[in-house]
Symmetry: C2
Subunit: 410 residues, 2 copies
């Protein structure tokens, strides 16, 4: 936890406004970390609608199984999050821990335990000392307030070096509504649905099934488009809560024209958080944006972009500020999607380096090398096959990654 | 090229005997490296049968396309290999280079250019100065001899820190035959067929179609079971040449009982070379053997084993000598194969650490930590699903990998 702040951290942090119907509190559980809040309680007023997307891992953690189960009702009254212990691969005891925590929170809040969402992040395989979480519940309940967004974002951090928050105000019809979000994540990032933990709160009035559809859509273009190390987590959880306090035109479907600006704002907010996660990728020195165009399909473009993004050879070359485009081509070739070598065009920083199956004639590496020295690296691959496109985000692979992950538990 | 020898390098190197019908010579091409042989010519007597397996990459290099093409005849008279330039993604000029080299060799050897195999390894995307290779041909031809195996193995090295050779003598019927092999490779290792470059020579009398079948089988359990960084190369090439000089019982099929010992010896020899490649994995400090058993199928076991082997989190944990088995479980869960969390058993160094979906009761990490400090790390995962099994080999992910690949071209 003593890692230096990422050089890619945002220069400033937005201030998150209160959201009608949402209160937050944090506390120290003393389960793993010393002298820092690592426990979050969020409460939502009655009538709050919930949606969520989760890791596709088959070794998903107990809290993921719990959230999926209770999400059937579409209702939410509270959320409890702990950092430092993932409560993953903890067997029957893991689910007992989740139920105990939900029970403890519901007793203090006088709601059903099945309306209490639970999320965990941290080390896999260690039993969770849930009694310590239950023990903190009265204190958490008594300190709830509507402004503790930064404290909330900070409490869920593990190897993160900066907190990740975002906010946006958008109109539904003529009524302004707010979306606040925060996230954590910096290693084990290859969301196959969401990233580690991300939470979104809004005062908008959106029924749970519609919220679910919108969240899944927004996730596809945000958290599902980032990778740090290709390791999908056991605990990936993205939850959205709509308190329905705003008085706007009723929303009857995700295709309702009144909700379109909200859908776009939600996708942009999630993309903002997702890119913050990449910028805090363990050891990251550079943000890498990889755009693949003219693929046979969007799916093919996505697979190829992710293969480039997960290539250790591409990521180390960029760490070394080496415009080693041959490694990009190598990744394109092994991605398993249909391509034709002589139709590929590769650009770095807007400069075409390879075309028609070979390096461009009279290639001058000077401007490309200058681009490689920056913090924002842009790779563009045109496949000349069709109309499929995808943009994904990753970071470089540096000594910092090895330092952090060779000693995370110790 | 100034990298220190891998700590996993074999303590001694076997001496490779001559093989009737095979001659070798090396030379300096001065294309990329200074003051070291980087060019290999091997010649084989008339009647030599050939087989090969190649990268599945769709950005395969020109020499790969050439070898696949000429392999149709099943005949071989020579092989030319250069190190330092992969002649990959070099467009039409890349194939012109290969044809020029084959032509130059054939003119000196008085054979058809279509019996000259060509292989290249090194940087992708740079035009190959084939005139320098052609220029060296007369000198190579005049210095051919039957004993230059070590020189041959050394000449094809790039980031390799030690040469990789193996030899075995085995009987076909009552007649002893010899198999010699050498290989190179240390980065961009995730063979989806073979590794970078590996060559096998034997005096056995085996018709090309049977040799091909045997080679493909042996490759499946050797080179296809290793990974360093998950990056499949554009140039992966495994070639086998049988000079047919040995006088043994005729072999009529790959299932012939007389050839079974040879098949096993070939698989063992390729596995030996493949493990040497892993031991020279860029930055490797530890050899990791991952055995997955009781999977739904061999294919499922292989996919799961390779997912563990390619997990940066598993590999960095092992570099840090941390028995972070939760990361192994995480990789099992995201591999995409059917598993049941509560049936998984994970052992490290022969000690069971997790069972029935959770850490074993009263887990004592002491002996596991002792195992992690060694150079040979053994991970065993039992899935309790069926009878599928696979064993794969990889190395840890260390600062050395970042050092080498952040500066390879410069």
């Amino acid at each position: 936890m003593t890692n230096k702040t990422s050089p890619l951290a945002p220069a400033s942090t937005p201030s998150l406004p209160a959201i009608a119907g949402v209160k937050l509190a944090t506390a120290e559980s003393n389960i793993r970390y010393k002298n820092r809040p690592d426990l979050l309680l969020a409460t939502m007023d009655e009538g709050t609608q919930a949606a969520g997307v989760f890791t596709t891992s088959l070794t998903a953690a107990a809290p993921v199984a719990w959230c999926k189960h209770i999400l059937n009702s579409g209702k939410a009254r509270a959320m409890v999050v702990n950092a430092g212990n993932a409560n993953a691969f903890t067997g029957r005891k893991g689910m007992e821990a989740v139920e105990y925590i939900a029970q403890a929170a519901s007793a203090n809040l006088h709601c059903s335990p099945e309306h209490v969402y639970v999320a965990s992040t941290g080390v896999i395989g260690e039993p969770l000392a849930y009694d310590k979480i239950a023990h903190a519940m009265p204190n958490l309940t008594s300190s709830l307030n509507g402004d503790a967004w930064n404290q909330a974002a900070r409490s869920i951090m593990t190897t993160d070096t900066f907190m990740k928050v975002a906010t946006v105000t958008v109109k539904i019809g003529d009524t302004p509504v707010t979306i606040n979000g925060f996230a954590k994540g910096s290693g084990m990032i290859a969301p196959n649905m969401a990233t580690l933990l991300a939470f979104v709160f809004t005062d908008a009035h959106i029924p749970a099934p519609i919220l679910q559809e919108m969240l899944a859509q927004a996730n596809t273009v945000s958290f599902n488009c980032i990778t740090v190390d290709g390791d999908t987590s056991t605990n990936d959880t993205l939850l959205a809560f709509a308190t329905c306090k705003a008085k706007h035109v009723p929303i009857s479907s995700a295709e309702d024209k009144h909700i379109a600006p909200f859908q776009k704002a939600l996708a942009d907010l999630l993309t903002d958080l997702a890119i913050q996660v990449v910028k805090d990728g363990e050891g990251a020195q550079k943000l890498i944006t990889i755009a693949v165009e003219d693929a046979e399909s969007d799916k093919a473009a996505y697979t190829i972009a992710m293969t480039i993004a997960n290539s250790p050879l591409v990521k180390t070359a960029i760490a070394g500020e080496d415009a080693n485009w041959g490694r990009i081509v190598g990744a394109v070739g092994r991605a398993g999607e249909n391509i034709q070598q002589d139709k590929i065009t590769v650009s770095i920083g807007g400069i075409t380096v390879a075309k028609d199956g070979a390096r461009v004639p009279d290639y001058d590496e000077t401007p490309v090398n200058a681009h490689m020295k920056g913090q924002d690296i842009h790779i563009h691959v045109d496949l000349g096959m069709g109309k499929g496109a995808a943009t994904v985000y990753t970071c470089d692979l540096t000594h910092g990654y090895i330092d952090i992950n060779g000693s995370y538990r110790s």
